[in-house]
């Protein structure tokens, strides 16, 4: 009897203990749909959370942080940095996974909580396939500086920031980046905004919400993408409060023509392969084989080279790309047989000199010529011939020393070169559109990477809107105007660039494009603050 009781007791005890269930903490949901704009993991992952004073302290501890703090101002809010994954579409309309950053202001200040405006930010050109603007915690990630800048300028001052990584970067498996493909990158931006708005509902700060004001900005490639996004959202009837594209290659055809005419920009050996790969995937009309465009030294594999997990410096050193030599230093000649065309083309094919360019301009352009060189002479001549025969009005006006106005900035009527057609298709002058909400185009006329002519051409095209005050242009290198709210920024930027020249000599101008970025973003913030 006692033995049986013992058996029953052990059995009962074992069963009773086994009834202590294995429950676990609830975790998020994973979306089952891959429709555009779907947030994949909800809630999104918060990578980092800093209060205002800790953020200021962390910025002060970095090399460029003190200057950024001086420019952006002391953080009024803390920032929560989220990483989100979402679905978008590729150029072939296939479902593509992408990622981005959601930065949410935190703190008890009135500008840090409650309904807040959103800044949709487009980042600049990068060759790093691991670029992740959400990963603020990793100072070795190439996106860290840009992430810190937009956090300091916008999020720490009360703006919710949404910044996608674009296709081709971070977790994207597309295999390339649809560089300067306006409509494609606009979709990526719009889908990121949709997903981020969903993520905003399940953050650690449920009291912070979208107040329906949307500002769009970006720098360099991001300036172009920002403008393309405004264009796409207007076409779709989606509200945009204001925009501030900065230092972007908006007038792509004119910009491309300028480069092929010898005004080679800093970064051309990176931008060129990114663009030709992007357009070849989208339109299949740039080349039959890469050697149609590129010299035999670099043609093999150039269509899969960028973006890359290998640092760009290593790619240069290992001979995968030339650092600056875009064209052959031995000048080719045109041979269409049409005298006027050949004469004009030969003049444009020549290595730039001073005059007509300034000494510093000529010195910069000349960096784009050498041996080994990236673009083969046959292709360059064909491009220049086409640009002479089918001229881009804006570029022809500039070359001729004329003044841009709304009547002389049209795109070429046609083109026989696939790349030129693609540039025209993605040129922001195409489509006959204009901004319907306030737009500020910021840049610098000393920018050696993305020429200020891009903003000037768009402003000329939109002359009535500039006159009416809807569209503004800010030249950071221009003479500060008394009473202008941007005058202090212009003064500060010009002082900074003068210091760079004093320390590094004339070649320091090569860094101006990067130097101007935070100044344009602060200008954008000031612009957004006064827009009705």
């Amino acid at each position: 009897m006692l033995r049986n009781i013992g058996v029953l007791w052990v059995a009962a005890a074992t069963l009773g203990l086994a009834a202590c269930g294995g429950t676990n903490s609830p975790t998020g949901k994973v979306a089952s749909s891959n429709q555009r704009g779907t947030l994949i993991d909800n809630p999104a992952l918060r990578i980092a959370s800093v209060n205002a004073s800790d953020f200021a302290a962390q910025l002060k501890a970095t090399a460029s942080g003190p200057q950024l703090l001086q420019l952006a101002g002391t953080p009024a809010c803390g920032v929560d940095f989220y990483y989100f994954k979402y679905w978008t579409v590729g150029p072939d309309n296939s479902a593509q996974m992408a990622s981005g950053s959601l930065m949410v202001p935190t703190g008890s200040g009135t500008q840090c909580t409650g309904p807040r405006p959103i800044v949709l930010y487009a980042h600049g050109t990068t060759t790093d396939s691991a670029y992740n603007i959400a990963n603020i915690s990793d100072t070795t990630n190439s996106a860290n500086s840009e992430a810190a800048t937009i956090a300091a300028v916008f999020a720490a001052q009360g703006y919710i920031v949404v910044a996608p990584n674009y296709l081709g970067y971070d977790i994207s498996t597309l295999g390339y980046h649809p560089y300067l493909n306006g409509s494609e990158n606009a979709m990526v931006m719009i889908d990121a905004l949709t997903a981020a708005r969903a993520a905003l509902l399940t953050t650690f700060t449920p009291n912070t919400s979208d107040n329906a004001k949307l500002y769009i900005t970006g720098y360099s490639e991001g300036g172009y993408v920002a403008m393309a996004t405004v264009k796409a959202m207007q076409a779709g009837g989606d509200p945009v409060t204001a925009s501030a594209p900065a230092s972007g290659p908006y007038a792509l055809e004119a910009f491309g023509d300028a480069i092929f005419f010898g005004q080679v920009n800093i970064g051309s050996t990176i931008f060129g392969p990114l663009a030709t790969t992007s357009y070849q995937h989208a339109y299949s009309n740039v080349y039959s084989q890469t050697s149609d465009v590129y010299s035999s030294t670099f043609a093999s594999g150039i269509d899969t080279l960028l973006p890359s997990a290998t640092p760009i410096g290593t790619l240069f050193q290992s001979g995968k790309l030339p650092q600056t030599s875009f064209f052959d230093s031995t000048t080719p000649t045109s041979s269409t047989g049409i005298g006027a065309v050949d004469a004009a083309a030969d003049q444009l094919l020549a290595i730039p000199t001073s005059p007509p360019y300034s000494a510093s301009q000529a010195a910069l352009f000349d960096l784009g010529f050498g041996n080994p060189y990236l673009v083969n002479n046959t292709y360059r001549v064909a491009y220049v011939d086409d640009a002479v025969i089918n001229g881009d009005e804006a570029e022809m006006t500039l070359i001729g020393g004329g003044t841009l106005n709304s009547g002389n900035v049209a795109l070429a009527a046609t083109s026989m070169i696939g790349l030129r057609k693609d540039l025209a298709m993605n040129d922001m002058r195409s489509g006959g559109w204009s901004p319907q909400e306030p737009m500020l185009m910021c840049g610098g006329d000393q920018d050696p990477t993305v020429y200020f002519q891009n903003a000037q051409i768009m402003a000329a095209l939109w002359t009535p809107f500039v006159t009416g005050g809807l569209v503004s242009v800010l030249d950071l290198n221009g003479a500060p105007q008394a009473g202008s709210p941007f005058a202090p920024l212009q003064v500060a930027l010009q002082q900074t660039e003068a210091q760079l020249i004093a320390a590094g000599g004339p070649s320091a101008v090569a860094s101006f494009h990067a130097t101007e970025a935070p100044f344009c973003l602060v200008a954008a913030r000031g612009f957004f603050a006064v827009v009705p």
Binding site: L2, R3, G6, V7, W9, V10, A11, A13, T14, L17, A18, C20, G21, G22, T23, N24, S25, P26, T27, G28, V30, I40, D41, P43, A44, L45, R46, I47, A48, S49, V50, N51, D54, G78, Y83, K85, N135, S137, D138, F204
Partner: protein
């Protein structure tokens, strides 16, 4: 494999309870009731995974819980002990930087779990039935299953969002040394010290991202109990 071992252990205990007994101190069957005092001698690898800064580790707090055991006397010198504790709530604290950004980490309770940890031990008992105080030593096998794994609010804040915790079960050796003191014909007092090896892999999943740490526990256990033999 672990289910088979657990089944074997329980089955063995049940079988032993129904066989013919060596009469010992009032009976071949003994049930014990007491208290476990558990000190975790835990050694964990730093947590690794996406967006995890270096140097993040964990610490387990000591616990006390109810001790239950059934002992079957096999001979004058041998017995078999099946022991289990009421699943205690174990708190895991963060170890590492004071804060992650501005989120507190070191010393924060980041997760809790209960664990069911039966051990089957074969003991050698010194002396004979007429000896009042009998030391014993034993070796056996421990099975540990983690239950009710929860990430706390502090854990979610450190991880970056709602987090699910996974800790697979463990099977490992255990050893014990103790003293049995006869109070009366059917009653004994026991005090023992045991150590077991428990290995598990902590997996924390937040927003689809997985972070892990390999944890090696060496629960050092002091047991004080009373037993009734029949």
């Amino acid at each position: 494999m672990q289910k088979k071992i657990m089944t074997l252990a329980v089955g063995t205990a049940l079988a032993l309870a129904t066989t013919g007994a060596f009469a010992d101190d009032g009976g071949a069957n003994t049930v014990r009731l007491g208290v476990y005092f558990v000190h975790f001698d835990a050694n964990a690898t730093d947590i690794t995974g996406p967006y995890v800064p270096p140097g993040l580790n964990v610490h387990l707090n000591n616990v006390e819980t109810l001790y239950l055991a059934y002992v079957r006397t096999l001979s004058t010198h041998f017995n078999a002990e099946l022991a289990v504790g009421y699943p205690p709530l174990t708190k895991t604290e963060g170890r590492g930087p004071a804060t992650l950004g501005s989120v507190r980490y070191n010393g924060q309770v980041i997760s809790t779990a209960r664990w069911l940890s039966p051990s089957l031990v074969i003991n050698y008992v010194f002396g004979d039935e007429n000896t009042r105080l009998r030391p014993y030593v034993g070796v056996g096998v421990n099975y540990t299953k983690f239950l009710a794994r929860q990430s706390t609010a502090a854990g979610n804040a450190a991880s970056g969002g709602p987090t699910s915790i996974s800790l697979p079960s463990s099977v490992g050796p255990t050893a014990t040394a103790g003293l049995a003191y006869e109070l009366a014909e059917h009653w004994h007092l026991y005090a023992s010290y045991s150590v077991a090896r428990v290995n598990s892999k902590l997996t924390a999943t937040t927003a689809g991202l997985v972070r892990t740490s390999n944890i090696h526990f060496w629960p050092n256990t002091l047991v004080v109990s009373a037993g009734y033999s029949f």
